[in-house]
């Protein structure tokens, strides 16, 4: 069941196509994999939070909640982490400001509960990850 993907591009064949070329690369790159890599602390299903900056604490904790909501999303049948070709829903940017406001409040308790469940399930097996949160690179 091995998927050998992107083989033809592994040799570095130049491509400047903006979206079309990506599908072949990204097949098999699940959203969980992408977020695990691009977010600074990875997807923290388990692991220690080492807080150094208040800012970061906020972000870390919320990312943990976000992970729980992945689980929740799956339960609800929303499988948006199964990657379709990148940018297939490229227009989704413009809805960003609404979602947070609509869902807010009551969801937090539910998410916290999901985090606890996830943590319980996964236990402490991967505390080795050494994913230290770095200090914020944010400057404002």
């Amino acid at each position: 069941m091995t998927q050998q993907l992107g083989e033809s591009t592994a040799t570095g064949v130049p491509t400047t196509r903006s979206t079309g070329g990506l599908a072949t690369h990204s097949q098999g790159q699940s959203l969980a994999d992408v977020l695990e890599r691009v977010l600074d602390k990875g997807i923290v299903i388990v692991g220690d939070i080492q807080v150094r900056l208040l800012d970061i604490e906020l972000l870390t904790i919320k990312i943990r909640l976000m992970v729980a909501s992945v689980d929740k999303a799956r339960e609800m049948g929303i499988d948006w982490w199964e990657v379709d070709p990148f940018f297939s829903s490229g227009g989704s940017d413009d809805k960003d400001d609404k979602d947070g406001d609509e869902k807010g409040g009551g969801r937090l308790g539910e998410l916290a509960q999901r985090v606890r469940e996830l943590e319980q399930r996964v236990g402490d097996e991967t505390s080795s990850a050494s994913k230290r949160p770095s200090a914020s690179r944010r400057r404002s």
């Binding site: 400047t16 695990e36 977010l39 990875g42 800012d55 976000m66 689980d71 948006w80 996830l118 400057r139």
Partner: protein, 259 residues
Amino acid sequence: MSDDTVVHAYGVVADGEAIPEIVGIAGAPIELVELPDLAIVAASLPFDRYGPASWVEHAEDLQWLASVGREHHGVLQQLIAVRDVVPFRLPSIYATLDGLRTLVSDERDRHLAALAAVAGRVEWVVKAYRGPRPTASRPEDAAASGAAYLQSQSRRLREEEEAGAHFQEVVRHAHDRLTAVVADAVRNPVQDKALSGRDLPMALNGAYLVERRRTQEFLDMLAAVEADGADDGLVLESSGPWPAYSFAGRARSAGAGAP
């Protein structure tokens, strides 16, 4: 870049070569910010949608994070087709270009080391799952008595334990064989089933830093490992090439931007 924009940095490349025209997050074209010996790949984004407040506001908003994360990754994915890149992790936003230049300059050695680490190399992901063993099932004798039943139960438990330990050994060996044909390797934390989307338990979430010119060798080894592990229920899944997220980060981990 003005007050209503924020600078988003995608990563660092060696200087001296042009990059292809790529449109990134929010449709903003990427540009090169040149420094001695290296260049930063960056873009100006609307502050009200991608500034610090937006990150805090959307930190639990999977859809927003997924959108930004994929677009960020999409740019890097296109870049590694033509260049070696040290990918930055998110959030990677800066108030001004000068601020970005200063921060990267301050960590110049670290960035150069990271560039050297990923030169000519890309990341591949290999996950191993524990599937059923094709030979594992055998007819169970009907228990003749309570004592015999208990005995068979405890025997089965013991066998399961041994099988589990054996499988871990199979996985470790698989990882070692893959590691032998790559420049570097790391075992990331295994993903929960909810994240992997598979029913089988994940036993390995490996990242391998593969020399581009040795990609075929790596893929051949992958096929060999999978074939050899089939009898033990080893199920592999691979994807790549990826930007070298799991390796570039090790060279530039903590301390970025610390005052």
